[in-house]
C-alpha cells in the first residue's frame, strides 16, 4: 500500500474521530460517509478514486478559503455600511463575487491580458497544453510563447480565445439581460399602473409566450430572421422578458393597492410618476436578485444557441461557439471543448451563488420565504 493511500485514510479517519469527539454531527456524517464510500470505490477503481476525491477536496478547500479571505478583505476595505452588508454574505457568495469580478476584469482588459490575438494562428491543430507556439499577440507583434491550455481546432491559442470569449459572451448576455429587464419592467409596471384592458391584453399575450418553451421559441424565430448579433440580443430579450413581466406585475400589483400609491393617484399624479417615484423604489431589492437570475440565464441561453450554431457567428470567440468548434476533438481525448464548457458553468454557478445570497437576504428581511 502506497504512502498516499495510507495518508488518505489516516486523514479521513482522524478527521471523523475529531468531529465525533467535538460532537459536530454533520461534519462527522460527511467525513465518515466519504471514508466508507472510499473503501468501496477504492476496491473497484483503485487509487484513481482516491486521487479524484483528494483533488476535489483540495479545490473545494481552496475555493472556500479564497471566499472567506475575500470577504474579510472586502469588509476591511469597504466603508461602514457596505462592509456590514458584505459581512452577511456566506462563503459561497463571496467566492462567487470574487470570480465574477476577476472574469469582468479579464474581459475588460482582454487585449492586455491575452498572450495571443483572438484570431491569430499560433501552432498546430489541438496542440497539448503547455507546448511551445508562436504567433501574433493582440498588438500585432510576432512573439514566441507557450500555449498554457493548448490550441483549438484551427491552431489558435485556447487561453486567449477563452479570454476574448469572456468579452463577447458577457457583453452579449449582459445586453440581453438589461434589455429583457427593461422591457419586462416597463410593460409590467404599465400593466399594473394602468390596469383595465391594457393589463388584460398584456397579461394574456405574456401567458401565451410563457406557454412556449424558451429554446423552441427562440429557434423558430431565429430561423425566420437574418443572422446578426443585434437581432440575437433582441430575440433573447423579447423571450426572456416574459419571466420579468410575471414577477414585476405580481410585485407591482402588490404595491399598487397600498395607501401611498392611492394617495399619489388621488393627488392627480401621472402614471409615469407613480411607476418611477412610488412603485419602483419599493420593489428594488427583489428586482436586483431577479436581474442576476436573468443574467445567469442569458449566459446559459446564449451559450446553448451558439452551441447549436445559431448564436454568435465565427470567427468571433464566444464560449458556446468554442464548445461547438472543438467538440470533435473530444473523441481524440483533446479537452479543449471542456475548457470552454467549464468557463460557462463556473461563471453561471458564481452568479447563481450571489443571487442565492441576495434572495435569502430579501426573504429574511420579510421574515420567511412566504
Amino acid at each position: 500500500m502506497s504512502l498516499f493511500v495510507f495518508g488518505y485514510f489516516a486523514l479521513l479517519i482522524a478527521g471523523s474521530s475529531l468531529a465525533a469527539y467535538y460532537e459536530r454531527r454533520d461534519v462527522f456524517g460527511v467525513l465518515f460517509t466519504v471514508t466508507l464510500a472510499s473503501l468501496i470505490f477504492g476496491l473497484i477503481w483503485g487509487q484513481t478514486a482516491f486521487w479524484a476525491v483528494t483533488i476535489i477536496a483540495i479545490m473545494l478547500a481552496a475555493a472556500g478559503g479564497l471566499g472567506y479571505s475575500f470577504r474579510a478583505y472586502m469588509v476591511m476595505l469597504l466603508p461602514d455600511k457596505a462592509a456590514r452588508f458584505m459581512k452577511s454574505a456566506p462563503v459561497t457568495a463571496s467566492f462567487g463575487l470574487l470570480v465574477i469580478i476577476i472574469t469582468l476584469l479579464l474581459a475588460i482588459f482582454a487585449d492586455l491580458v491575452a498572450p495571443f490575438g483572438e484570431r491569430a494562428i499560433v501552432g498546430d491543430v489541438w496542440q497539448a497544453a503547455g507546448t511551445a507556439c508562436s504567433g501574433r499577440n493582440p498588438f500585432g507583434q510576432v512573439i514566441d510563447g507557450e500555449c498554457l491550455l493548448g490550441t483549438d481546432n484551427l491552431g489558435r491559442d485556447m487561453l486567449s480565445r477563452l479570454i476574448y470569449g469572456a468579452q463577447t459572451t458577457i457583453s452579449v448576455a449582459a445586453a440581453a439581460g438589461v434589455l429583457s429587464f427593461a422591457i419586462g419592467m416597463f410593460l409590467s409596471f404599465t400593466a399594473a399602473a394602468v390596469g383595465g384592458w391594457v393589463d388584460q391584453v398584456l397579461s394574456r399575450i405574456n401567458d401565451l409566450m410563457l406557454a412556449i418553451p424558451t429554446l423552441i421559441f427562440a429557434l423558430v424565430v431565429l430561423a425566420a430572421l437574418p443572422q446578426n448579433v443585434y437581432i440575437l440580443v433582441a430575440v433573447m430579450a423579447t423571450i426572456d422578458q416574459t419571466r420579468v413581466f410575471r414577477l414585476g406585475r405580481a410585485v407591482a400589483i402588490d404595491i399598487a393597492v397600498q395607501d401611498f400609491v392611492e394617495a399619489a393617484r388621488l393627488r392627480g399624479e401621472g402614471w409615469f410618476w407613480i411607476i418611477f417615484r412610488e412603485i419602483l423604489p419599493n420593489v428594488l431589492t427583489p428586482l436586483i436578485a431577479e436581474f442576476g437570475l436573468r443574467f445567469a440565464f442569458a449566459i446559459l441561453f446564449l451559450s446553448s444557441l451558439s452551441f447549436l450554431g445559431l448564436g454568435i457567428q465565427p470567427p468571433e470567440a464566444d464560449w458556446g461557439g468554442m464548445v461547438k468548434d472543438n467538440k470533435d476533438g473530444i473523441i481524440f481525448l483533446v479537452p479543449a471543448a471542456l475548457y470552454a464548457g467549464a468557463a460557462i458553468a463556473t461563471l453561471a454557478v458564481c452568479v447563481n451563488m450571489v443571487v442565492d445570497w441576495l434572495l435569502n437576504r430579501t426573504a429574511s428581511l420579510k421574515g420567511g420565504r412566504g
Binding site: 456524517g29 406557454a211 424558451t214 423552441i216 429557434l219 424565430v221 447549436l308 467538440k327 473523441i331 458553468a345
Partner: protein
C-alpha cells in the same frame, strides 16, 4: 355533470385553445417579422428573379391567412406538409423521430423522478443542516451547468476514459422499446437526468417544506404524535398534489432539454431534426417541430394541473 369532470374538461379545453393560439403565433407572428423566408432560404446574394421564382414554387405568393388555414387544416388531419429542403413529407420523419425522442425522455424520467423526489425528502429531513447545504450547493451547480458541458464531460470520462457507455453517434436499433436500447442511450439519458434532477429536487424540497411549515403539522407535533406518523398520516396525503405538479412540470422541461442532448450525441430524434431545419431555414419543418414541441409542453403542463386537481380534494371545489 360531475363537477370534477367538468373542471377537468375545462382545463383540457383551455390547453387545446392554447395550442391553437401557439400555432397561430408560430405561423402568423413569425411571418410578420421583418425578413423574407424566400430570401433567407436562398441566402443574401440571391437575385430578385430567383427569389420570385422560389416564392411561387413554395406557395409563398399566396396571402398569409390562406396559407395559415391551409396549413392548419393539414395539421388537424395529420399532414404537416412537405420540407423545402428535400421536398420530402415532414410526417414520416416527424413521427419516427418523435418516438425516438419520447423513448430517450422516458428512460431519463424513469431514473430522474424517484431520485429527485427522494433527494428532496432527504434535504427536508436534514433541513438547515450540513447535508441540506451540500445538496443545495451541488444542485445549484447542476442547474448552472449547460447541457452540452455535462454531455461532453460524460463522453470524455465515461465513454472514452473508463470505457463505459456509448459515445456519439447513438442510433437506436429496430425494436425501439427494448433493454438493449436502454443500455445504448445510457449516457444521453444520464445527461438529461443531471440537467432535470436538480430542478426537480429543489422544487420538491420547496413543496414539502411548504407543507411541513403549515399549522396542522405543528398542531400534530404539539399533540405529541410521533414524527413518522405525522409524515404518513398528515404530510404525505397533502404532499402528493404538489409533487405530481413538480414531476409533470419537469417532464415538460425534459422534453425541451432533449434538443441540445440529441445534438451532442447525434441521436436521431426530433431535436436534431429541428436544429438541422433551423440551420437551413426549412420553415415547414421548423414550424412543425416547434408546434409539436410546444404541444407536448402544454399537454404535460395540463396533466400537471389535472393531476393536482385529482390529488387534492380542496382544489376539486374551487371557490
Amino acid at each position: 355533470m360531475n363537477p370534477v369532470l367538468s373542471l377537468i374538461l375545462l382545463r383540457v379545453g383551455i390547453g387545446l385553445l392554447v395550442i391553437l393560439a401557439i400555432s397561430a403565433l408560430l405561423f402568423i407572428g413569425v411571418e410578420l417579422l421583418p425578413g423574407d423566408f424566400a430570401r433567407n432560404f436562398l441566402g443574401q446574394s440571391a437575385t430578385p428573379e430567383a427569389v420570385a421564382n422560389i416564392r411561387k414554387e413554395l406557395g409563398l405568393d399566396q396571402p398569409l391567412l390562406t396559407r395559415y388555414f391551409d396549413w392548419l387544416g393539414g395539421v388537424l388531419t395529420g399532414d404537416f406538409g412537405t420540407s423545402w429542403a428535400n421536398k420530402a413529407s415532414v410526417n414520416e420523419q416527424l413521427f419516427k423521430r418523435l418516438s425516438n425522442t419520447l423513448f430517450l425522455a422516458a428512460v431519463a424520467a424513469v431514473f430522474a423522478v424517484p431520485i429527485a423526489v427522494s433527494l428532496g425528502m432527504v434535504a427536508v429531513f436534514f433541513r438547515n443542516r450540513l447535508p441540506d447545504h451540500v445538496i443545495n450547493i451541488v444542485s445549484l451547480a447542476a442547474i448552472s451547468m449547460p447541457e452540452f458541458f455535462v454531455g461532453y464531460l460524460f463522453i470524455f470520462f465515461f465513454a472514452l476514459l473508463l470505457g463505459f457507455g456509448d459515445g456519439p453517434p447513438i442510433i437506436p436499433n429496430a425494436p425501439l422499446w427494448s433493454l438493449a436500447n436502454v443500455q445504448l442511450v445510457a449516457l444521453p439519458a444520464a445527461t438529461l437526468v443531471v440537467v432535470v434532477l436538480a430542478h426537480m429536487m429543489r422544487m420538491t424540497r420547496a413543496a414539502i417544506l411548504n407543507i411541513m411549515d403549515s399549522a396542522y403539522i405543528e398542531t400534530a407535533e404539539l399533540k405529541g404524535v410521533r414524527m413518522m406518523t405525522i409524515i404518513r398520516k398528515h404530510a404525505a396525503p397533502n404532499a402528493i398534489a404538489p409533487i405530481i405538479n413538480v414531476v409533470a412540470l419537469n417532464l415538460a422541461y425534459l422534453v425541451v432539454g432533449v434538443v441540445v442532448v440529441e445534438v451532442i450525441f447525434a441521436y436521431p430524434g426530433m431535436g436534431q431534426y429541428f436544429v438541422d431545419a433551423v440551420t437551413v431555414r426549412d420553415m415547414p419543418v421548423v414550424q412543425a417541430c416547434g408546434v409539436v414541441f410546444a404541444a407536448v409542453y402544454v399537454v404535460l403542463n395540463m396533466v400537471a394541473d389535472v393531476g393536482a386537481i385529482l390529488a387534492n380534494p380542496r382544489l376539486m371545489h374551487p371557490k
